[in-house]
Symmetry: C2
Subunit: 417 residues, 2 copies
Amino acid sequence: MEEIHRQLEVFRRGCVDILPGEKALIERLEEGRPLRIKLGVDPTISDLHLGHTVVLRKLGQLQELGHEIDFVIGSFTARIGDPTGRSRTRPHLSAEEVRRYAETYQTQAFRILDRERTKVFYNAEWFDPMTFSDVIGLASRVTVARIIEREDFARRLAEGRPVHLHELLYPLLQAYDSVALRSDVEIGGTDQRFNILAGRDLQESFGQPPQIVLLLPLLIGTDGTRKMSKSYDNYIGITEPPLEIYSKTMSIPDEIMLSWFELLTDLPIARLTEIKEGLADGSLHPKVAKKLLARTLVAQYHDEVQAKDAQESWEQLHEPGGSRGRAPLDVPEVEIPPPTGEGGKLWVVEFIDRLRFTTRKGDPISRSEIRRLIQQKGLTIDGVPIESTSAMVEPYDGMIVSKGNKQFRRVRIPEGG
Amino acid sequence: MEEIHRQLEVFRRGCVDILPGEKALIERLEEGRPLRIKLGVDPTISDLHLGHTVVLRKLGQLQELGHEIDFVIGSFTARIGDPTGRSRTRPHLSAEEVRRYAETYQTQAFRILDRERTKVFYNAEWFDPMTFSDVIGLASRVTVARIIEREDFARRLAEGRPVHLHELLYPLLQAYDSVALRSDVEIGGTDQRFNILAGRDLQESFGQPPQIVLLLPLLIGTDGTRKMSKSYDNYIGITEPPLEIYSKTMSIPDEIMLSWFELLTDLPIARLTEIKEGLADGSLHPKVAKKLLARTLVAQYHDEVQAKDAQESWEQLHEPGGSRGRAPLDVPEVEIPPPTGEGGKLWVVEFIDRLRFTTRKGDPISRSEIRRLIQQKGLTIDGVPIESTSAMVEPYDGMIVSKGNKQFRRVRIPEGG
């Protein structure tokens, strides 16, 4: 019983909800065997970001308790995509693409999970052999009313926007994965509540004990408002270079810092409480706390040495009174030949243009964008915003220029220039 | 053009609706080729009744114009049935049962249609090979809103009664049959409006010219109120014996007689008008008209001689002032040994009991039911209702006893009795 309560602590930490309740989970744990804990994986994810790690870190903790982690790669659905072509979130992928994506996903996920104690399934294995008649049998187990309760369906139907009939079949797919694997527990973000509960219903209709649902919060992105997502460009990829992770973390609003500590780090609960209290009574400066968070995250996905270096680089750029002057690490160098006219100076727009900053999409930024960025104080030289679009710049070797707090360039003046 | 208008007359007669309009039909006829005209056949029908013949007779007329009739036996759906077991109208049939039903259906249908100019398809041919992924592709072509517009779905959802997800797939099946056959026209009763229109939409989404919809009225049954249906026991099967067809026809209310003439006979329109006017101005007695209808129907499904005999038998039973006395045809004989006591008489309940009349379900009627029938004037001897449950009867050879106007018995007194 003591062991079960120890386990319960781990299940519970950071969870938004355990459905239908902790009692069901306790009963399942009392069976004394490793539980089959399922995570449905969208194989269109190429790069894991911190948002994905919330669930993966929880799985890592449960794995350490001796439970079995089942990854289900949604290979069947991904291969079909959305036949209407209307859904951006359901591109059609070839079997080869699915396999490649799934491998990239696993390589990254196994930075957090133990590969040896994780089983990987592709759901095409059970959906490919199904006939039309099997589909009808499956669909007969759920009611239309129950499916169109789902928030996005209900809203679109109410607004008169089209919901195509095949979309109603998708929740059944994820639900049937739990039947195929006889899952004891399914884990997901709060946005998965409906789909995971559908799995319970379907398991019951197949005479299986319904899985327990573990819902975790959605991580707020670096913008401090929306959930972290590639499409909102408010994410930090776990394979990004140390300084990127560090800088982006330093850019988050203070308000979400504590939830990042809780969901993304292994700091003990006692330490979290200290930080929380320190911030509340003013004895801990938010910037100091945030530096701890940023450094902890870099250390998790790189190592302690790189975390320290990233911190120093960041401080050089953002704290001019500090150890400014030393060239930061990890910053791409751009060679700028010394200007010949204008007393060795360059027009600022011309200068920035040569540094080849890029847009979110990766295209070089245009001159009109450069002007706009300057007006918005979005470009800095050695941490100081450029004030005017008509300024003249005298480049020197080691000068650090940044666009926002995400892209950095170091100027190099060629030898003998 | 004259030819097309002649054809249009045939298409139009008795039709409730031609969708999207006659213009579309004219354009299709102008292509100058035989049109593919589809009828979806529910293979759970074992005995055709007059209600089914409304559509079949129309197909017979169109066939004579040179068009191709395509029967689609719903073998796929019938084999699946309703997996929830909730729908009485969707029993699960084995492949062998479907085949047997379909053959019975065809044997009967070819009393009306020309077998040589009718093609028969089983839709399992195109649905059996479909995979889950094909089903998703198919379902993606329709919207949920469009499907749940269908009256029975809309009503059940509004009333909070369950609609199971697979049910939404069924209209797609019938619709896809039209795609598989590239149908030019689909014919059906007015209750098929939604399903046949769904075929148009699906054909368009497959880039085919959408079929023209021919809707025929539903025949009112012998009770004069509800559509003819086996489950309402208000039907006349086309394989029933002559006297049954004749008697049941004579039992219909006068109000529906004209629609029966129009939908079930080949009488020319001019003749129909005469009958209509005769009934309206009182120059034609309804009973005379109804006898013409009854005799015409018997002649259609048997022959002229049997039609004449049936009429005579009926008249003997129902018109005591007429040619009463001669034994009717087709009436089961029951041997009654001459009673020994009571002056050669039998108690009426005892007498009727020996005649073994049956209930609708085919069980022998009980003595208490006999009493009730007598009280309701539902039993006649030689066309005269039995007045009292305490009457005494003296049976004689050739006595005709009837229960309602559907069951008849002829008494036979054994020789030397």
